[in-house]
């Protein structure tokens, strides 16, 4: 099988990347990592890449292929090209991190964010004398996805918020945050949730699913972020725009059946946050001028006269009855 690669090359200290193209014959079963090692051994010894286990365990070989982060050792060439021998795979280093050389990135910010979430258990009490801590199987099963993380950085590479905000704590560290906060042995759950709810934390994620898509280990970091949000709201940590947004949104559905768009902004940023609301005024006026403002939604959800969809009494019945679906505390919370 013919393999065609176009590899982004960056020399240490240089800001001017270039691309090198390679073409050679290889077995059908070849992985992208095999192909790159072939290049380094036989075509161009100066190619910089990082790898160790070659079996999706160590997490050293994440890089971008055709614009998407993958583990090179887990990506079969034939799966990337769909068997099209003319397909030239574009191989680049991970995004959202500085490049040291070629496909090798500097993961310092990855690790510093990991440290930022205090990624270790802080038990409230010592285990019973001469015993270990006991936890239920369910609780640990719920944490298994998160424990599968191999710290490869693929999710961080492709996170769409990190692209515009270097301070965002980003998916891998927030998944780790869930792993410790949801562990029954941890005694700092509340403090953690307060901290994770701050700016640059759990509420800054757009829920774009990119990290879920690229994670090679099924950690689904975004789903862990959503679990942290649910935990934070449950613990009453709601004095922030993210939690208020969720509250007003949910209220608008339980009150009227459909979204009340007019009240989303004031309901989220805070009714008395005049500065912030003022910022949105020109936008609201533009909507009204374009004839798009839904004036039937001007009464806030929950107030007398607020807008209700047709058949709202039936929806109310669902709202009431669905409370019985909530898992009991001891049950596993997982998606």
């Amino acid at each position: 099988m013919k393999v065609r690669l176009k590899v982004k090359r960056t020399d240490p200290g240089s800001n001017e990347p270039r691309y090198s193209s390679y073409e050679f014959e290889a077995e059908q079963s070849v992985t992208l990592l095999d192909a790159l090692i072939h290049v380094r051994e036989y075509e161009d010894g100066t190619l910089g890449l990082r790898c160790s286990c070659r079996s999706a365990i160590c997490g050293s070989c994440a890089m971008r292929v055709d614009g998407r982060a993958r583990l090179a050792c887990r990506a079969k060439v034939i799966a990337i090209t769909g068997g099209d021998e003319d397909h030239e795979m574009v191989v680049e280093p991970m995004g959202n991190m500085p490049v040291i050389k070629d496909l090798v990135t500097d993961m310092e910010s990855f690790w510093s964010k990991m440290r930022q979430v205090d990624p270790y258990l802080q038990p409230a009490q010592a285990p019973p004398a001469n015993e270990e801590y006991r936890v239920t199987n369910e609780a640990m099963l719920d944490l298994t996805h998160t424990m599968n993380c191999i710290m490869c950085g693929a999710c961080v590479s492709d996170c769409t918020v990190l692209e515009v905000d270097k301070n965002f704590i980003a998916p891998a560290a927030l998944a780790k945050a869930y792993r410790v906060a949801a562990d029954p042995r941890d005694g700092k759950e509340h403090d953690r949730l307060v901290k994770y709810s701050e700016y640059s934390g759990i509420w800054d994620c757009t829920r774009c699913n990119m990290c879920v898509e690229v994670c090679p280990k099924g950690v689904a970091p975004m789903n862990r972020i959503l679990q942290l949000r649910e935990m934070a709201i449950e613990q009453g940590i709601t004095n922030n725009a993210g939690a208020r947004h969720t509250n007003i949104f949910t209220k608008s559905i339980t009150d009227g059946g459909r979204l009340n768009e007019v009240w989303m902004v004031p309901g989220s940023v805070g009714l008395f946050n005049i500065g912030r609301i003022t910022k949105e005024m020109p936008g609201a006026i533009r909507l009204a001028l374009a004839g798009k403002m839904p004036f039937n939604q001007v009464i806030p959800p929950g107030m007398p006269g607020s807008h209700k969809m047709k058949g709202m009494d039936r929806v109310r019945n669902i709202v009431r009855k669905s409370a019985s679906l909530k898992p009991k505390k001891a049950e596993v919370k997982s998606s």
Partner: protein, 299 residues
């Protein structure tokens, strides 16, 4: 071939702040002979937001919508990437948890509704390509948009997680907008932001980040010569169109890019009048774009 007919979930936004989407969908469906039976008593999908606080409520409301479609014996069509993503996610969750599904059906029982996994749920984008067909669409074109350049903007939830969005059966779903643009005679402009997030979900949480995302995508597509962007998601449309002036102020990029809903683009190619699709009700003016229309139609 029998006529196409769907239970139609219009979503909250097309019935609220984006009436142009509702109007253009119905008009285009009518011209293409696609029959839509609107579910006027279905509730919001929760958009992933209700799920953060009360996933069980969101599951029940979506199962209810599915059951309403099943009661009509029809597949379900939506016109929002976010609705599609949430509906696919709930379908997946319910199919994988039969015990939980039974409990959810218990909640629906008062209304005589019951959801059985297996319902077909498709965004209008998928309906056009998979059910209606690009050949038929080509044949229906009255005003080929030759020479016009459109950039796709998909919206996260219609693409990811691809595993639950039918990637194995329909591997080209992440190329459908480009395929449609070509089918109606126009030229697709591909750019790196087309499958990223528009920023809308965090507009109220972190305005700067949200607007930076929107501004970046528009700027990139503009640099590559797009005349307009086209999206199957009204929430993306909100950030890309209604928030564009704000994004311009935050990013300092000199941007001006009309944003079309997918059915509006189809309608133009079908020869409909721009006004019929409320193209004069956008925040960013569509005038310059419409001046480029092959027959010089104007708003």
């Amino acid at each position: 071939m029998s006529a196409l007919k769907y239970a139609f979930w219009p979503g909250c936004v097309s019935k609220g702040v984006a009436p142009e989407l509702y109007v253009s969908t119905n008009r285009v469906a009518q011209v293409l002979g696609i029959e839509l039976v609107e579910l006027d008593q279905a509730a919001c999908t929760g958009a992933g937001v209700v799920q953060e606080q009360n996933p069980e409520l969101a599951d029940a409301l979506n199962a209810r919508t599915f059951a309403m479609a099943q009661q009509l014996g029809l597949p379900l069509m939506n016109i929002c990437s976010t609705c599609q993503g949430i509906e696919s996610m709930v379908q997946d969750k319910l199919a994988k948890n039969p015990e939980y599904l039974e409990k959810v059906n218990g909640v629906l029982a008062d209304e005589g509704l019951r959801y059985t996994p297996g319902l077909v749920v498709k965004n209008f984008l998928w309906v056009l390509v998979e059910d209606f067909g690009l050949d038929k669409l080509k044949a229906a074109v009255k005003r080929p948009l030759t020479g016009m350049r459109f950039g796709p903007f998909y919206g996260c939830y219609i693409l990811r997680p691809s595993e639950i969005l039918g990637k194995s059966e329909h591997p080209a779903r992440d190329k459908y907008i480009e395929m449609i643009i070509e089918a109606i005679g126009a030229t697709p402009v591909t750019y790196s932001g087309q499958k990223k997030c528009c920023g809308f979900p965090i507009l109220t949480v972190n305005r700067e980040n949200s607007l930076q995302q929107t501004g970046n995508h528009i700027h990139e597509a503009q640099d590559l010569g797009a005349d307009a962007l086209v999206s199957p998601c009204p929430l993306c449309h909100l950030n890309l169109d209604a928030q564009q002036p704000a994004a311009k102020a935050v990013t300092k990029y000199d941007i001006e890019m009309p944003i079309l809903h997918l059915p509006q683009l189809i309608g133009l190619a079908l020869g409909l009048e721009p006004k019929e699709m409320r193209l004069d009700h956008h925040v960013v003016s569509t005038k310059k774009l419409l001046d480029k229309l092959p027959q010089g139609a104007a708003v």
